[in-house]
Symmetry: C2
Subunit: 345 residues, 2 copies
């Protein structure tokens, strides 16, 4: 008999939050009781979940009393304040923001890759960055089989990663563009940055703000989180993160170098047996992953696998996944499921 | 006093052909006489050029008699048959198709990079692939200053590279998408390939058909043409070519390794002084190249320049240019201008 858990959802109305609710239902997560928490401004509003109506409560520290699992996706500043309060009250926090990800005390987990790290938790587990999750899900089986020394990734990221307002902005810009009207930009590349650019009919080589070294925070997340999740501080990782006019589904052009000799057939075989990975690679039938077909799917799709023409230990891959599912909501729920199975909840 | 030339345009009504006509006028190419050639099917139709109306003539071998410069952009099979006929009659052919590019007897030229190769022509000059031109224009000054050993590029290519019908298809799909209707795909990724996929709200990791080694022809063009233009057969080049829902302007995420020590400031300095290149790189003001701002511009724009965090001789760049201008029509006319200046016409 499965334990029935008390679950709190913080940030349920956001792009990721609403997908987390869907995943809880779809995956039949054993919910005994569920509560929805938000800022004082939203408290009192009602929210639908699994055919029932709930009243949103204010997310105070006390609201986490008796909660077993708290799913946070309401922004880094909310998590910074409330996640420790929830943990202090015995909840296990699964945090979708970047706030705790590089904290050495906080496991950063993709269950297929480093499930063992969950046992070391001190009340908070961090869910990695969307573009990082799908990349490590595809690369870990290769690393396990052949070793991995180098990763160079260029991303093609969907607007839903920037929230519901970015999806609406792409739609509005696209309609105006088609109608020959002026296009207004207020959200992308980063709501909190100074300048905004249209994404319809454009690509923007900036996601999140810039750090001092010229890389963006998104790029540094991919670099640092990959090393942490894979327990590979010596792994060479470089990233260029680019927003494209796609609604959902991040794509990645990835170059890797492995340690041991590997053939394309061996890489295929490893990925065919990799948990959470679907190989879509057949040039005869033009089969390869694309974001419009990955939307709504759980898997990380991999294709366009080629051995480098100059370096037999170099390989090129094309990795696509739904950034709101495996990249966020699904991975969060999978973390909770793994903890339940491992008697950590 | 400038010589007045007789110019023939083959394929004037295509996406590149119409831009070539614009460039001839805009750049005041010294035209004494101009003629427009097409298949028998289009012969007899009229075409506007610089305020006058011309009748399209059938592109027979004899039509090239007396022509000084023949600009071809009517597909590889047309060039294969007619370019040698034009050359035999004394015309210099500047061919926009891929047909002659890797022919060792045919110079493949980006004037800023390998203008000297023009002198070796035997009647036919090949204009390189669009994504190759902008990349070598940006990389050659760096190679000249610091040497270059390795290039790994992932592209974000506009639909106009696949012709006017692909532009129309993106527009129709986008309108249907916005209206919630079904989206039809008939052109991309490659009109002559078996399966077609929507490009609106999608990215397609296939441009042109596949070759036997798993790379596409577009990718192999970037690899082989880059080495030929740079006279660098030993240069390591790898490419992943991806179509994005942008009308015009190809973007490229490029990783390079140089031979000699170089600083970011030195790379900046080299690119600031590079012909045809505009440096757009200031993270404080979120300044970097983007396709919607490159459309209609002559330059190759470079930004997001970063030293690799693991390899001091590794650099990341973001290169954008209008694929129909520097990537095709403009480069063709610049070839003709360079030949005129060098007394090769």
């Amino acid at each position: 008999m499965t334990k029935q858990l008390t679950v709190a959802v913080v940030g349920a109305t956001g792009a990721v939050g609403s997908k987390m609710m869907e995943q809880l239902i779809k995956r039949k997560f054993p919910i005994g009781h569920i509560k929805f928490l938000a800022s004082a401004r939203s408290a009192g509003k009602s929210i639908e979940f699994n055919g029932e109506t709930y009243t949103i409560e204010e997310a105070t520290p006390e609201a986490f009393e008796g909660v077993n699992v708290a799913l946070f996706s309401a922004g880094g500043s909310v998590s910074a304040v409330l996640a420790p309060e929830a943990a202090k009250r015995g909840a296990v926090v699964i945090d979708n923001t970047s706030h705790f990800r590089m904290d050495p005390e906080v496991p950063l987990v993709v269950p297929e890759v480093n499930r063992g790290d969950l046992a070391k938790h001190k009340g908070i587990i961090a869910n990695p960055n969307c573009s990082t999750i799908q990349m490590v899900a595809a690369l870990e089986p290769i690393r396990h089989a052949f070793g991995l020394t180098k990763v160079i990734v260029s991303t093609y990221q969907a607007v839903s990663g920037a929230g519901i307002s970015a999806i609406q902005e792409l739609k509005a810009q696209s309609e105006n563009w088609d109608a020959g009207k002026d296009v207004e930009a207020n959200i992308l590349p980063s709501g909190s940055d100074k300048r905004h650019y249209p994404i319809a009919r454009n690509v923007i080589p900036q996601i999140d703000k810039f750090t001092d070294n010229g890389f963006t925070y998104e790029e540094m997340k991919m670099i640092n989180e990959t090393k942490k999740i894979m327990h590979a501080p010596e792994l060479k990782v470089a990233a260029t993160c680019v927003r494209v006019p796609v609604v959902s589904g991040h794509s990645e052009s990835v170059y890797i170098e492995v340690e041991k000799d590997a053939s394309i057939q061996e890489i295929f075989e490893v990925l065919r047996n990799a948990p959470g990975v679907v190989l879509q690679d057949d040039i005869a039938t033009q089969t390869y992953p694309m974001p419009i077909y990955a939307e709504g799917e759980d898997a990380t799709f991999v294709g366009r696998i080629r051995q480098d023409l100059d370096n037999s230990k170099g390989f090129h891959l094309w990795i696509v996944s739904d950034n709101l599912l495996k990249g966020a909501a699904l991975n969060s729920i999978q973390i909770a499921e793994a903890m339940l199975e491992d008697n950590l909840l």
